[in-house]
């Protein structure tokens, strides 16, 4: 006969105030298999825990139930106490009679009755628990970072500098992300490239970092501490070790396509280097643009390459890597101008988005830092900046606030004034959100020092009219209709999860929020962890962020990853699914429903990979023959709990 001990906590008056703990103890003492039942004012206190330890020893208890607060709070406390008394941790269970009983009821009799039932059902459960030891697995002490923007770069460097090998995967030919496109950064106005390139170089030179540009994560398997990753390395057709950056190839290349780096404000050749400081410093042959290699249609680039760096026979490679932790920093894209019906569907040449304007301002940009409007390369004298373009508009566009637009628009207006002193900058805004160190001061500076004109209100229409860009809006403060014949309009487009992030998220089994940003495990307490163990989030992939935030989160993610990588072995809850082989017919339904691919068919029966299994039990509800059940929460245990709940 099992010998169960029950301990009822008063929690001061938190429980005893509404639940008659003495009565509960007395009822439980009569419950079959309960050989000890007592109540105490604070079970979680040292004397309280000692009561348990003492009773286990004196009464030779083999199971313990503590009726107290939610298991989320003190389960560990009491399981450790039971351990100290010589029991296996899983011989102890918590009956939640506070949050789910005493705190939500007033009627003393009813609350007491309910507390009794909850405790009884917990007794029925615990007495059928088995002793379990945590599962442990060795850790692969390397990390994978997906995305070579500022967040990915920062995370990689932090990991590498802590002594862990890092594989940094970037899908475009160079790392640097959007930050490298920026001209200056708020609120300090220091040059973006100047502060980023040193980090990029550090990455490329770092012995612990294996940089894989022009590559994409194809498939991922395994589990925290032991992931297997398949990475597709796209062919660049240029051997970057041979290439001496002489730039002869681009001169002879007959093909011109829009240049992504300048967001189409300039063109590039089919063979190209994204930008001078690109890392890795090498050329890439864009096979989509190239007239073709099978058969070789042009071949000029190869002809002029003295160092024979160009290799048309380069093939895509699949590279497999083992890692213990993964940081996802896939960043953002701007919400496409073409979605903005009211602002001319992006068809008006002098209506730019924020990033295009950055390029215009940038010293390395298409205009070498002069602000000239695309249509006629004239200096715009009146520029209208429109905030919340596509943001905060649940009806038509994105419901959320893209967070950084207020600041960079202020920066844009300011930069414009620094370039065009006699120009006028207007900013249409809904609100100005300038929370952050030095941010509000920055906005004030734009207004006071640079005379930027802020107009509160939404722009209703933007259209071309004899060489000007007409902007119709309303100043909601004066209620006046406003019409501006601008030379140029800059839209602060909303931030969206970067292209293809969704597909990747599916491969990684990452949850996404309704807007497609990656979901964190807990909005407050676990902001850099994903719901899947071993996967961490950094940068704008998780939500719109400015640079300092992205960098901070990246370092946070790196630190979180290190908590895994720094371990010899990882421990995993042993309450996992178990197969009753004699009942299994191998129908494979459980294999299909398992969210973690933890179940596999092997000669007509299923097997559980205990390390992959998270113990959700969906398999057991699916199995028609109860042939697979979760340890310590078996269908039999639930069945007995049901009986106890219904007072029988």
């Amino acid at each position: 006969m099992k010998r169960t001990g029950v301990f009822i906590c008063h929690c001061g008056i938190n429980i005893a105030g509404t639940v008659d703990v003495k009565k509960v103890a007395q009822e439980l003492s009569q419950h079959a298999g309960v050989v000890h039942a007592e109540d105490y004012v604070y079970m979680c206190s040292d004397p309280g825990q000692n009561l348990i330890i003492q009773a286990v020893k004196d009464k030779k208890l083999d199971h313990v139930v503590v009726a107290c607060c939610s298991p989320n709070l003190h389960e560990t406390t009491f399981r450790n106490a039971s351990k100290a008394a010589g029991l296996n941790a899983f011989r102890c269970e918590i009956a939640n009679i506070r949050e789910q009983c005493s705190w939500v009821h007033k009627d003393r009799a009813k609350a007491t009755q309910k507390a009794t039932k909850i405790t009884k059902s917990t007794v029925e459960k615990v007495r059928r628990n088995e002793s379990l030891e945590a599962l442990s697995v060795p850790v692969t002490r390397r990390a994978l970072v997906i995305g070579g923007g500022i967040a990915g770069i920062q995370a990689s460097l932090d990991l590498a500098n802590s002594g862990y090998e890092v594989i940094l995967v970037e899908r475009s030919p160079s790392i640097g992300g959007h930050m490298i496109q920026l001209s200056e950064t708020f609120p300090t106005l220091d040059c973006s490239q100047c502060i980023l390139t040193p980090k990029m170089v550090e990455v490329s030179k770092h012995p612990k970092i294996k940089l894989m540009t022009y590559s994409e994560v194809q498939d991922i398997s395994g589990y925290v501490g032991n992931f297997k990753v398949k990475i597709l390395k796209k062919p660049t057709y240029v051997d970057k070790d041979k290439c001496n950056l002489c730039d002869e190839c681009t001169k002879v290349c007959p093909i011109v396509v829009p240049n992504e780096f300048d967001l189409g404000l300039t063109g590039r050749r089919a063979i190209y280097i994204p930008f001078p400081q690109a890392i890795p410093a090498s050329y890439t042959l864009d096979i989509k643009a190239c007239p073709g290699l099978l058969p070789i249609a042009c071949g000029k680039c190869a002809d002029v390459c003295d160092v024979k760096a160009i290799d048309y026979d380069m093939k895509p490679q699949i590279i497999e890597e083992d890692v213990g932790a993964i940081i996802v920093a896939t960043g953002y894209d701007l919400y496409d101008k073409e979605n903005m019906a009211e602002y001319g569907f992006g068809k008006i040449p002098d209506v730019l988005d924020g990033l295009q304007f950055e390029r215009l301002c940038s010293a390395s940009g298409p205009t070498k830092g002069q602000i000239l409007r695309p249509s006629d390369k004239k200096e715009p004298k009146e520029v209208v900046f429109i905030q919340c373009s596509g943001s905060r508009d649940p009806e038509n566009h994105c419901a959320y606030c893209s967070k950084i637009c207020c600041m960079y628009t202020a920066k844009h207006a300011m930069l414009y004034k620094h370039h065009v002193h006699d120009g006028q900058a207007y900013i249409f805004y809904i609100d100005i959100r300038s929370g952050g160190k030095g941010y509000e001061e920055f906005v004030q500076r734009a207004v006071e020092e640079d005379g930027v004109l802020y107009l509160r209100g939404k722009v209703s229409k933007v259209f071309e009219e004899n060489g000007k860009v007409k902007v119709w809006g309303v100043d909601t403060l004066t209620g006046k209709h406003i019409e501006i014949a601008a030379d140029m309009v800059v839209l602060a487009q909303a931030m969206r999860p970067s292209q293809g992030a969704q597909e990747l998220a599916k491969k990684l089994k990452l949850a996404m929020d309704k807007d497609g940003f990656l979901a964190e495990a807990h909005p407050k307490l676990r902001p850099v962890e994903s719901v899947t163990a071993g996967l961490f989030l950094a940068g704008a992939a998780q939500a719109p962020k400015d640079i300092p935030e992205a960098v901070a989160q990246a370092s946070g993610a790196a630190a979180k990853a290190i908590t895994i990588l720094s371990q010899e072995r990882l421990y995993h809850a042993p309450t996992v699914a178990r197969v009753f082989t004699n009942l299994c017919t191998g129908c494979g339904m459980c294999v299909q429903v398992c969210p973690y691919d933890a179940i596999a068919l092997k000669d007509g029966k299923v097997e559980v990979n205990e390390v992959l299994c998270e113990g959700c039990g969906t398999c057991s509800a699916t199995c028609l023959r109860s042939a697979i059940q979760v340890k310590n929460l078996s269908q039999h245990q639930v069945h007995e709990m049901i009986n106890a709940c219904l007072g029988g």
């Binding site: 939610s70 298991p71 989320n72 939640n96 506070r98 949050e99 789910q100 009983c101 705190w103 939500v104 009821h105 007033k106 009627d107 009813k110 609350a111 009755q113 309910k114 039932k117 909850i118 059902s121 089994k509 949850a511 309704k514 719901v531 429903v593 969210p595 973690y596 998270e614 113990g615 959700c616 039990g617 969906t618 057991s620 509800a621 699916t622 109860s626 979760v630 929460l633 269908q635 639930v638 069945h639 709990m641 049901i642 009986n643 709940c645 219904l646 007072g647 029988g648």
Partner: protein, 141 residues
Amino acid sequence: MKAEEFEPRIVAFLCKWCSSAGSDLAGVSRMEYPANVVPIQVMCSGSVSPLYIFSAFNRGADGVLVSGCHPGDCHYIKGNFYARRRLNMVKKLLEYVGLEPERFQMSWVSAAEGTKYTQIIKDFVKELKPLGPQTKLRRTR
């Protein structure tokens, strides 16, 4: 027994991560609701077998509630989607054989929805009272 005296006995299967946490939150926020529900914490609504529901009614439950995470919020990614399918079939079956539809209910309650949990229990109890004790499926003797 008169409806107003009758106190329905309800078993509630709450998933650990959302609904049980939501119920905890209701407690932390000291919301009040009737004491008719005895909760059983399961890992995921996806683990609630139809056997549990039939068995609960067989042992005399007046009502059974299954509550899990909102679609997309499942701690186990998709367990609640399977639950939604499976238990929809159970509900249709029970109604088909003539059990009062009110007696078996399902809800999505997130860890942040203490208020919603409270409301669901209040409504559930309110709807069950006029029905009186569930004697149809209950084991006699």
